[in-house]
């Protein structure tokens, strides 16, 4: 019996900005229906990794396969159907502040309908759909009428989550979903994420530097350091990984192999 194809397979992914090497040969397999959590310090290229998969940044080298197809070799038009299968929750929510909350939530559905994928909904139908999605992330549908700027950080994250899952994507990305939230709200968001991923049966990649969060969301965890995934393992082995770099990071020690340059 052959190995099943991973939903996402990355090999030798490299990206530099000018002289600054950010990704230096990342290899990563994420099997369908599982969640992979990437941990790593600030500025180590975690967001760049997700952006490369999304096609927002063109990598310098390496391959990114989705369902066995290397999307880096496709034209933007050929790539579109693959991108349409990915939902993304951005680090700060990235809600459209010129639109109301419910228009934000159904933005992707409306866009897909415009391109001829999926049914065209009337405004009333869209609004009702937005209400259901908001309820899924534990919010009152009445919030739909507000503007994103009227919401707290935690609520913005939830609306971002509702927007990301609206099209029932096969793949979900979460960029630091709990950063900037208090621990309780963080736990709530983690719970919602785990819930949504399970209900949709999606494959997920989440970025975090919160260990509790990593253990709540992830089926597997990997650490990005100096442009590579230097360690992968089960979430419950995070604190005794046997890898000195991971150890220093998860225990938050000042001394260790990771040199923190406080001047940068």
């Amino acid at each position: 019996m052959t190995e099943p194809t991973p939903k996402i397979r990355i090999r030798g992914l490299k990206k530099a900005f000018g002289p600054k090497v950010v990704l230096d040969g990342v290899d990563l397999d994420v099997m369908g229906g599982t969640s992979f959590v990437v941990i790593g310090g600030s500025g180590t290229g975690k967001s760049v990794l997700l952006r490369c998969i999304l096609g927002l940044i063109t990598p310098d080298a390496g391959s990114i396969e989705i369902d066995g197809v290397d999307v880096t070799t496709l034209t933007p038009r050929q790539r579109e159907p693959y991108m349409a299968r990915i939902g993304m929750l951005f680090q700060n929510g990235a809600l459209f502040d010129s639109l109301s909350v419910w228009e934000n939530v159904t933005f992707g559905l409306t866009a897909a309908a415009r391109m001829g994928h999926g049914p065209r909904l009337t405004r009333a139908q869209s609004r009702a759909r937005a209400g259901e999605l908001l309820e899924q992330v534990g919010m009152d549908p009445a919030v739909g009428a507000l503007s994103p700027s009227e919401l707290s950080g935690g609520m913005q994250k939830r609306v971002g989550l509702a927007r990301a899952i609206a099209a029932r994507p096969e793949i979900l990305f979460f960029d630091e979903p709990t950063t900037g939230l208090d621990p309780i709200m963080g736990a709530v968001i983690d719970g919602l994420i785990a819930d949504c991923v399970r209900k949709l049966g999606s494959t997920a990649i989440a970025i975090t530097h919160d260990m509790a969060s990593a253990q709540r969301i992830g089926d597997r965890v990997g650490m990005l350091y100096e442009g590579r995934l230097i360690w992968q393992g089960a979430p419950d082995t995070l604190f005794d990984s046997g890898n000195p770099v991971v150890d220093q990071f998860t225990h938050g020690r000042r001394e260790g192999p990771i040199k923190v340059d406080v001047r940068t």
């Binding site: 952006r51 999304l54 096609g55 927002l56 579109e80 991108m83 349409a84 990915i86 939902g87 993304m88 951005f90 680090q91 700060n92 990235a94 809600l95 459209f96 502040d97 010129s98 933005f107 992707g108 866009a111 897909a112 415009r114 391109m115 994928h117 927007r163």
Partner: protein
């Protein structure tokens, strides 16, 4: 010697940077224009931009035109009264307003108002990842954000300039009749006699091009801003400065093309 070489090298780099930038801007504009004919179309954004540019700029453009027409009348009078050339003033006003003052002043006002607002809005969307979010939600950000704004700028500026033309003439008329005691009917007759369809038409063509350039600068600089609030501020300044310089440069070139034969 070294100082001169450094200076020349610096000059060369600056010129190269400008050429590179011009190429990037041209490509950006071309991509945005290519979406004009490819659905889907975002009518709501187009309408919003039309209202923002065409309607909400009316007060500033109207006031500027009114006073400029008045100033031209007053300056011509004080300059030419000794030659008993009062009859020429109506002609001078309408020529100056339709050919130059209308398009250039309306353009500069819109560059300050709309160019700045546009680059700030799009720049904020860039640095808060909203533009990337559009892409992940099956929406082409060029088509959604840039194309409707360019079209709106190109359509709205001629309308504003038409208004500026009328109010500029009205400004000159008001000064001449109320302050200088000219005969109203004679002024109107002289204005109509000097009114040239060609002048107005060229002014409106200039306006359309200015409208395109202003919105192009606003969108380009906003779209490529980076580095948080500070970056957005820098982009806004760059957009207004670039739009104003481009506008005056194109004004000269277009005047050369249309009027120098």
């Amino acid at each position: 010697m070294n100082g001169i070489l450094d200076f020349v090298a610096g000059l060369g780099r600056a010129v190269l940077d400008m050429v590179r930038m011009a190429g990037k801007v041209a490509l950006f504009g071309a991509v945005a224009l290519s979406h004009v004919v490819r659905p889907p179309f975002y009518w709501r954004t187009l309408w919003g931009s039309l209202v923002e540019i065409g309607y909400f700029s009316l007060p500033v453009v109207a006031l500027t035109a009114l006073f400029s027409g008045g100033v031209i009348a007053l300056q011509s009078y004080t300059g030419f009264a000794q030659y008993h050339a009062q009859n020429a003033i109506a002609g001078i006003v309408i020529l100056a307003v339709t050919r130059e003052l209308g398009p250039v002043l309306a353009g500069l006002m819109v560059a300050g108002r709309v160019g700045a607002a546009m680059s700030a809005e799009i720049g904020t969307m860039r640095v808060t990842d909203q533009i990337d979010a559009l892409t992940t939600l099956s929406t082409n950000p060029m088509k959604y954000l840039v194309t409707p704004r360019l079209v709106a700028g190109t359509l709205a500026l001629p309308f504003l300039v038409l208004v500026a033309d009328i109010l500029g003439v009205l400004g000159g008329f008001t000064v001449c009749v109320m302050k200088l005691d000219f005969s109203a009917s004679a002024y109107i007759a002289a204005t109509i006699a000097s009114l040239k369809v060609m002048d107005v038409t060229v002014g409106l063509v200039k306006a359309a091009i200015f409208g395109f350039l202003i919105t192009l600068m606003g969108c380009y600089h906003g779209y490529h801003s980076r580095g948080g609030a500070e970056g957005v501020g820098a982009a806004t300044t760059a957009a207004v400065v670039a739009a104003s310089i481009l506008l005056l440069t194109f004004d000269y070139l277009l005047t050369d093309v249309f009027f120098s034969q």
